[in-house]
């Protein structure tokens, strides 16, 4: 695997370069992708709906949510089809198969970091003063990425055998998005549902990241615990399934 790190580098480079080839705006799209929805939701929910945003500018609340969610969401969205899309490579050349989903995630990381920089600029424009809790931000982003890694490996492997996964994933991600406080604040959730709501592994992830940037109410211990369990489960499930069926990819794909 280590001997193939150059391959990982060039495959990642290919994915990143191809993504915005022959676009006029290029990397600007990376910033626009979270920014445009953030503006839409800020206008709809913040201005017209007057939904609470924990005392922060609504647009910033949405943007922080989208940045943290983006690592997980985009990893799975791009990575779940990666093995199937590389069927010509899998059936013609031997190399550690895990490089394919890993390479698909590299463009997610790069996009995510650019989105993060845009978020930092936006936060400074709104006069947010970074506190000591900013130090926790990398922890939550890593959490999002690791959960994304586990789910990507899981879905990409299953997708080789049953393409149904490819069709189901957009719905699953969208439903999950609605159940997570990304475009709204978890203040909206009634107290009696809060316990159940906190069992969603991504609630702590978003709330934690938002707290590290904007301050306010930190994620509850329950939220953080379910988040850590979620990471562990997705990684174990992802690697187990991937390794179990890796050898058969070339025969099935």
């Amino acid at each position: 695997m280590f001997a193939y790190r150059d391959l990982l580098y060039y495959l990642s480079m290919r994915d990143v370069k191809i993504r915005y080839k022959q676009t006029s705006l290029g990397v600007v799209w990376v910033v626009l992708q979270p920014l445009v929805p953030a503006i839409i939701f800020a206008v709809l929910f913040g201005n017209f709906g007057r939904l609470p945003s924990n005392g922060q500018p609504y647009i910033l609340m949405v943007f922080t949510g989208l940045v943290a969610w983006g690592f997980l969401n985009n990893s799975v969205a791009r990575g779940s089809g990666s093995l199937v899309a590389s069927s010509n490579l899998l059936s013609k050349i031997y190399f550690p198969r895990i490089i394919i989903p890993l390479a698909s995630m590299s463009s997610v990381v790069i996009d995510g970091l650019i989105g993060l920089a845009a978020m930092a600029v936006l936060a400074l424009l709104f006069g947010i003063k970074p506190g000591l809790h900013l130090l926790a931000a990398p922890f939550f982003l890593t959490a999002s990425l690791l959960m994304g890694l586990g789910l990507t490996l899981f879905s990409a492997s299953i997708n080789v055998y049953r393409r149904d996964i490819g069709y189901a994933i957009p719905f699953i991600l969208q439903a999950w998005n609605y159940m997570t406080p990304i475009v709204y604040s978890s203040e909206l959730i009634p107290k009696k549902w809060m316990l159940l709501y906190s069992l969603n592994q991504t609630v702590g992830l978003i709330e934690g990241f938002r707290w590290s940037i904007l301050g306010g109410r930190p994620a509850s211990p329950l939220m953080l615990t379910t988040m850590l369990i979620g990471i562990a489960v997705s990684l174990v499930a992802g690697f187990t399934v991937f390794q179990k069926i890796e050898r058969g990819f070339a025969d099935i794909i």
């Binding site: 001997a3 150059d6 290919r14 370069k17 191809i18 013609k92 050898r247």
Partner: protein, 421 residues
């Protein structure tokens, strides 16, 4: 036997099985095509009793050793298991039984240019393809200039390869592969690319490779290439070893084998050759009146008549005949006019004028393809063959009774006049 330290590839009782499924009701009919266009969830895989699952052995009980520094050829008809063997040796797929041990770093080339991306430049593709084939970045750096020179693309190295001509594309792809420096190189038919001079260059490169003590395992349909570069050969038939040994012995056996099972009258209607668009049903040699004959006469025109069925006619189906003499393609013929394309049975006859081809034995590969996109619907290889004989007392020989060399014997117009008495 060779001592273990001299053996680069050691294969022991290797087997590979696949599960195939077909409809129980139509087991006596052809099972290639499924009429179901839609996958009903409840008819999926093993869940329905309408489908029988059967184990198919693509390879069975294969054993051989390849000594270090030798070029080892693998030959056999389509479907004999050559590609499966290469995939196992390349570690792309696992064997079902037995084992294959390869000592040293393996480079495998089952296709030229795998992983090339049209949007990336030549330079970027060299690095991407090189690392895919198992090279490290610094190894590519070391041979980068050689690759570019070999491929003759130095002016275009920073141009996206989608702007390359197909020749440049293939040369670049092969150049990367040719500069792989594995101890064991596994190659599948990739020499069937590029023009003749480039092919010669590639063959030369392969000989260099073995000169440096590397081992090459080479799969090909071209008996002449196998004869010229391989030291030993394996002949596969229906997934089993037919013969292993010195190249000339094995290629002769293969040639004889394809002679035995071929002929000038083929009836394939029990097992038509082809895909879901078109299938070949029969082929026969006919005289100028359209009657079946067992051999052709040099002095008379004759035809090759094929019957095929078209099941789907979205694209015109173009029949084509590939004439081989002694393992070399003599020529290919296709109809000059686009043929009538309707669903149903078709008969096509290609007429050969008297004296076009010389006396001798010819093998004809019979294929049909369609364009846009280019797609081959059937391709019957090494099965149809016939002899052209001649009467040695015929007038054009003027008494000469020895064999006259050459693949063609056209009757040319000669102008002869006496210029000095």
């Amino acid at each position: 036997m060779h001592s273990p330290s001299d053996v680069a590839i050691s294969v022991r009782s290797l087997g590979k099985s696949y599960k195939i499924q077909h409809q129980a009701t139509s087991s006596n009919q052809t099972t290639r095509t499924s009429k179901r266009g839609f996958a009903w969830p409840w008819q999926d895989s093993n869940s329905s009793d309408k489908f029988l699952s059967e184990t198919f052995w693509a390879l069975q009980d294969i054993s051989f050793d390849v000594p270090r520094g030798k070029v080892f050829g693998v030959i056999g008809r389509n479907g004999a298991g050559k590609s499966t063997l290469l995939k196992i040796l390349s570690r792309i797929t696992d064997p079902s039984t037995g084992q294959a041990d390869i000592r040293g770093r393996v480079g495998s080339l089952l296709e030229v240019g795998t992983g090339f991306h049209p949007e990336l430049s030549g330079r970027e593709n060299i690095y991407l393809n090189g690392t895919l084939l198992g090279m490290r970045r610094r190894e590519i750096n070391a041979v980068f200039d050689e690759i570019v020179d070999f491929a003759e693309v130095s002016r275009f190295i920073d141009t996206p390869v989608k702007r390359y001509s197909s020749g440049m594309y293939v040369r670049l792809a092969f150049a990367v592969a040719a500069h792989l420096q594995p101890e064991v190189l596994i190659i599948d038919e990739v020499l069937a690319v590029g023009d003749i001079s480039f092919q010669k260059k590639c063959l030369g490169k392969m000989k260099d490779v073995t000169g440096e003590g590397r081992t090459v395992l080479f799969v090909s349909h071209s008996l002449s290439t196998v004869n010229s570069i391989c030291d030993e050969c394996l002949l596969l038939e229906d997934g089993r070893t037919k013969l292993v040994g010195p190249t000339t012995e094995v290629t002769t056996a293969y040639f004889d084998m394809s002679q035995e099972e071929s002929g000038s009258q083929l009836d394939l209607s029990a097992q038509p050759e082809g895909d879901e668009v078109a299938v070949l049903l029969s082929a026969k040699l006919v005289d100028q009146h359209g009657d079946s004959i067992t051999y052709a006469n040099l002095d008379e025109p004759f035809g090759i008549e094929i019957a095929y069925e078209i099941m789907d006619c979205r694209q015109p189906i173009i029949p084509n005949l590939h004439f081989f003499s002694g393992g070399t393609c003599a020529f290919v013929t296709t109809p000059a006019e686009p043929s009538d394309c309707r669903v149903g049975l078709h008969r096509a006859i290609a007429w050969l004028p008297a004296g076009l081809i010389n006396a001798g034995n010819y093998t004809v590969n019979i294929a049909a393809s369609s364009m846009n996109p280019v797609c081959v619907h059937f391709h019957l290889q090494d099965r149809f063959s016939f002899n052209v004989i001649e009467d040695v007392h015929n007038s054009s020989r003027q008494g000469y009774v020895q064999a006259i060399p050459g693949v063609i014997r056209p009757r040319l117009a000669w102008d002869i006049e006496a210029i000095r008495a």
